[in-house]
Point group: C2
Chain length 405, copies 2
């Protein structure tokens, strides 16, 4: 780790709820909502209609900028690009979603401004100037019934902000998924503006998954299966659907950052290619082998292990081998290092908080070192096949370049 | 490839339907069934209640032993360990399932015998004697309502057969999944007998996945998403559930061969470990970090790409690092090569048949070279990090050892 002490650390995957959104969630009587019906009276966020164990404990770390700043300083994080945590605005009706997106983006800008004040007044451990240290992904009015034109307008508004540098989005789009043709103008505009879209899971897999015969079964495993597996399954499916819909053929400059290192997709991409090649519905639809498109994506490095990160880099690095008409490109150290440039550190804060030995959350976390930070930083350091500069890139420089920080 | 010309090739993932099972499926009026309601009048196998596009075309390659023998000779496959293709016996009532398992296992033994006769009379390209060239996984009476004692009896019967060398099973067990405590005697008996259990997907993800707002959405992508992603999602979930249920803590010698290179689980295993560590329901349940157990599994090499295979081997190879109480073991070339010994070639024949340029199946395949074979063999050859002997192991020797062929 000592060799990396002068690196810049950028956290591209770190969440908040705006205070206005918290008030909205507290006011609701059906999920998603924040309630205090738990045995200990603590506030719980219950997201899905069928919520395992009543939801997760939330507190100021989810909305208080001082908490985020403390977390950043404690972990030597130079820059955070915060994003709203799910469920975003999916649950609102169309006019509310449009209004709320506007309000959220204003609140996110204020959040960044407040952070700058705190950084300027404090003694942050960072080498980066105060005004650069807090940025945000904006939010788009993606909900059922919204006119795609409103989404396009929202992209333009985000692009004109100095503190917003992209937009987070879930997998449902306007209710029918990201592969629905109605979103075509959205991809076109995002590509034109060079905005990074951060694709993040929310729903996991279907409502029947927790039936005795369902995917998760009926044994009590807490949130583990929906979170560890359901989330990356959703991301993999959404990304594959974008590829199959030809979105990256029509918009090769679209910048899509995929959560949790691409979820389950990288390891399944050759299987995807084989299934595409054998299916008359799809085999002649795309310009390239599906594996080519995995080299066009960006990936956070939120995978918790060096072997996972190395695998993703290798799979990005081989992409040119699958470009139609190209001479079969060999994977080289250079192509893999180029792949690594598409990967960037994240923490998933304030999720995965420190716990006591019985697994319960330590709510006063002002002094704790978060395992989710150290594990993801160590994973980067521990990839034996990567050069020192490749590791510096993943820790921060790749994000600095991609987002123009 | 020339350096590998003297290798032995064992196909551990290759399917059939017994003729008796075909007759049963033809006699049914609800899925799963074989019907001729397709526009071209060809026989289609429709498996799930909601079947995309009416099912897949089936023909003699699914049940005729001469077809399998021709396929093996054409592709220089020395030994096949055939297994029933899904849906196995899940759809039968309990007494039928018990009877049918008995019949299927007798039919599978006959299938191996018939193959031996063909090999002995023909001019096979193999260096291996005729009687060793066709083996089979038996089938277990896993269906709702079956007494686990019947499953144990079936394991004992399989263990006493010279041509059956393990058992294939799906993810539902006796209807409530493989993590239900009622299956405890089954794991105990399989471990005691040293029988390899081959875990294979069938259901994919939930019935709502093809809704507009579901995981697969409503765009027409043929079978691609359920097959490329849904199958390995199911396998990952089932394997994770076995781990979380402590099955490998109680039965460390259980031999579980996981289809499609472990599905999505290997790349998500550090995420699984992180989620387990942060969840009070699970964090103190297991003897080891979840990643340790991935080193106890066996994996087919049906992943279609060298980067995928390399990633799986690295993830097996790191397992000892996550053994409780062990000094943090470093991953070495040796530990990875040891990991490779748990991987073994497969084809998934007769699925993924050769197609015409429009993607339709070439039904008379007596002379075709199957892409699914060459891709999976080339993937093994192309893993840069593996030694020649490691590759020979995956191509065949690992299976020879594991199954005592």
């Amino acid at each position: 780790m000592s060799k990396m002490s002068r690196r810049i650390i950028v956290d591209c995957h770190t969440h908040i709820y705006t205070k206005r959104l918290v008030l909205l969630l507290r006011s609701r009587t059906v999920n998603p909502r924040i309630h205090t019906n738990s045995p200990d009276g603590s506030e719980k966020l219950a997201i899905l209609p069928q919520e395992v164990s009543g939801g997760r404990t939330v507190g100021p770390q989810y909305w208080d900028v001082r908490n985020k700043v403390s977390f950043m300083n404690r972990h030597m994080i130079d820059i955070s690009i915060v994003s709203l945590a799910n469920p975003w605005l999916d649950f609102l009706d169309a006019p509310q979603a449009v209004t709320s997106a506007h309000e959220c983006n204003a609140d996110l800008e204020q959040y960044c401004f407040d952070a700058t004040q705190l950084f300027a007044s404090g003694q942050g451990a960072s080498k980066v100037e105060a005004e650069r240290r807090m940025k945000a992904f904006g939010i788009l009015p993606l909900a059922e019934g919204v006119d795609p034109k409103e989404v396009v307008k929202s992209l333009e508004s985000i692009a004109s902000s100095s503190s917003l540098c992209g937009a987070i989005l879930g997998s449902r789009g306007l209710g029918k998924g990201l592969d629905h043709p109605e979103l075509e103008p959205v991809w076109a505009k995002a590509a034109e503006l060079g905005l990074v879209l951060f694709l993040h899971p929310h729903y996991g897999v279907g409502a029947d998954a927790s039936q005795p015969s369902g995917l998760w079964g009926s044994q009590d495993n807490g949130h583990v299966l929906p979170l560890a597996l359901g989330f990356p399954f959703e991301t993999a499916a959404a990304t594959a659907r974008l590829i199959l819909a030809g979105v990256f053929d029509r918009h090769p400059n679209l910048r899509l950052l995929v959560a949790h290192s691409g979820g389950a997709l990288p390891i399944l991409s050759s299987r995807l290619a084989s299934c595409v090649a054998h299916d008359p519905h799809v085999c002649n639809r795309l310009k390239h082998d599906p594996r080519y498109y995995l080299g066009k994506l960006y990936y956070d490095a939120v995978a918790y292990g060096p072997e996972e990160l190395e695998a993703v880099a290798n799979i990005i690095g081989r992409a040119d081998r699958y470009k139609s008409g190209a001479a079969a490109a060999k994977i080289t150290r250079e192509s893999v290092e180029k792949g690594v440039q598409r990967m960037m550190f994240g923490t998933d804060h304030p999720f995965f908080p420190p716990t006591k030995s019985d697994g319960t959350v330590i709510t006063d976390d002002q002094t704790e070192t978060w395992r989710s930070v150290t594990e993801n930083l160590e994973a980067i350091s521990d990839v034996a096949a990567w050069s020192h500069s490749a590791k510096l890139g993943v820790a921060g420089q790749n994000a600095v370049k991609l987002f123009g920080l």
